[in-house]
């Protein structure tokens, strides 16, 4: 049995929403988060890449990965270290 405890992961689905939708959703999720949470943001607006990087730098919450899937979905995984 796998006894590893995964940090709670919040999926934020902003696909189809154009700028500033994804960063709005990320900010709202951050507001509801606590230290140790992981936020997984899905977006289709390319502006999310620079916005998420700037947000991460400002808030001190690292981006664990930022990938673009074949279907065009940009997936940003962020660890909440500071609140």
């Amino acid at each position: 049995m796998d006894t590893t405890t995964q940090p709670p992961r919040t999926l934020v689905d902003s696909r189809g929403s154009s700028c500033p939708g994804p960063i709005t959703d990320l900010s709202m999720a951050y507001r509801r988060s606590t230290v140790g949470d992981v936020i997984e943001l899905w977006a289709t607006d390319p502006g999310v890449k620079s916005d998420a990087r700037a947000w991460s730098q400002k808030t001190g919450n690292p981006i664990l990965s930022l990938d673009e899937r074949a279907d065009g979905t940009i997936v940003v995984i962020i660890e909440i270290k500071r609140r």
Binding site: S18, C19, T24, S27, M28, Y30, D51
Partner: protein, 399 residues
């Protein structure tokens, strides 16, 4: 047999929709909590210009005679059994439901906020709150004004910037600008959330000497010292905080409860405007979770889409926004976009300022649908998805 339509909320969207359904095919009931209808964009001018134009009219007088009006507060909606319940004990069954209950300010989630807006006023809730804000501005004799939205969701996204620009204009007119510091804070990475429009707005803030604090999500406010602290850990100290409180959907219990998101917005299909998971309920306007600006224009266009679908020709919403934007000193612009054609930057002009003022004067008529042919033509001509329009504007700066 006539279809029983129940519309919840007698604001911009609900009133327009109810008026557009004819009596031969529909038996329309509109349930609304307030006996009066508030023209919300006017709150900006009460707060920053002490405007005296009446902003409130009796809802009955705005509705077509055949619309049955129920003055009551909706407390629960059972989407499975197609039943609405009110605080006054009414139970209304429907064939089709349209939720148009808007959103309301809710300062309770931010420590210190209720106290501050209670003393200073605000321009996103009521006429008396907007008057209180005017009194606070009228007493201001210099120092720091900090203005911004406390959380990322804002009714009428241009309204925070409009507020700081009108505050700047007022201080200049009164000869107080030299003695004042204006700080605009925002939870976003840039002053105007949508990047293409920010290319128009940011230089104007700079030119008028307005400081900008980005990524500032208000966490708490000290109501004694007027110190604002953000979740990100930054601090703004000021003499007059002008704050846009967080917004929440109406306190209605839905069955199934899952149709509401975390902000109590009704989960709505962005194109068909059907409440997610239902075949008989629609939602329009601010009450929805649509990924578009919360605006009266949006509520208007969504009401038209739902009316067409109810009449039997299924229509879809393209996500159109068209927000007039007051840049103060007699200049204005518009923010227009759709789901597929993101916001197009529009150069400021005096004409656009006049157009904003004209739209305001036409609001009451537009609720009756009288202006629909002219407005439809206007929205078609200014559709950002039209190739001619995009060609005129050129590519988005920064893309």
């Amino acid at each position: 047999m006539r279809q029983r339509i129940v519309v919840l909320g007698g604001g911009t969207g609900g009133t327009m929709l109810a008026n557009s359904l004819d009596r031969r095919r529909f038996e329309t009931t509109l349930v609304t909590a307030s006996t009066t209808h508030l023209f919300q964009p006017g709150l900006l001018y009460v707060a920053f210009k002490n405007a005296g134009t009446p902003l409130v009219r009796d809802e009955r007088g705005l509705l077509a005679r055949h619309v049955h009006l129920v003055h009551d507060t909706v407390t629960s909606v059972d989407l499975t059994h197609q039943l609405v319940e009110t605080a006054g004990g009414s139970r209304l069954a429907y064939d089709r439901l349209v939720v148009a209950t808007g959103i309301q300010t809710d300062p309770s989630g931010i420590p210190g906020l209720a106290d501050v807006v209670g003393r200073v006023g605000d321009y996103h809730s009521t006429v008396s709150q907007a008057r209180l804000l005017w009194q606070s501005l009228d007493r201001f004799r210099g120092g720091t004004i900090a203005l911004g939205q406390t959380t990322p969701i804002c009714k009428c996204p241009p309204s925070p910037i409009e507020g700081i620009l009108l505050a700047d204009e007022l201080l200049r007119r009164r000869g107080l600008r030299e003695r004042s510091r204006l700080v605009f804070f925002t939870p976003y990475p840039r002053p105007y959330p949508a990047e293409p429009m920010n290319h128009v707005v940011e230089p104007i803030l700079k030119e008028r000497g307005i400081e900008v604090a980005t990524f500032f999500d208000v966490d708490r406010i000290d109501p004694e010292s007027f110190t604002l602290t953000s979740i990100e850990g930054d601090v703004i100290e000021c003499d007059l905080p002008i704050l846009v409180p967080p917004f929440t959907g109406a306190p209605i219990a839905y069955e199934p409860a899952g149709v509401l998101d975390e902000s109590r917005f009704v989960r709505t299909d962005p194109r068909t405007l059907r409440v997610r998971g239902t075949g008989t309920a629609f939602a329009i306007g601010d009450a929805t979770s649509l990924p578009t600006s919360k605006s009266g224009v949006g509520a208007h266009l969504e009401a038209q889409v739902v009316a067409r679908t109810l009449r039997g020709s299924p229509a879809t919403f393209a996500g159109r926004t068209h927000c007039p934007f007051d840049l103060a000193h007699g200049r204005g612009t518009f923010v227009a976009g759709t789901y597929d054609a993101p916001v197009v930057p529009s150069p400021p002009s005096r004409l656009k300022h006049v157009m904003k003022a004209t739209f305001a004067r036409l609001y009451w008529l537009s609720l009756r649908g009288t202006l629909d042919p002219a407005l439809d033509l206007y929205f078609r001509l200014t559709d950002p998805a039209r190739p001619r329009w995009r060609g005129l504007r050129g590519p988005h700066p920064g893309t």
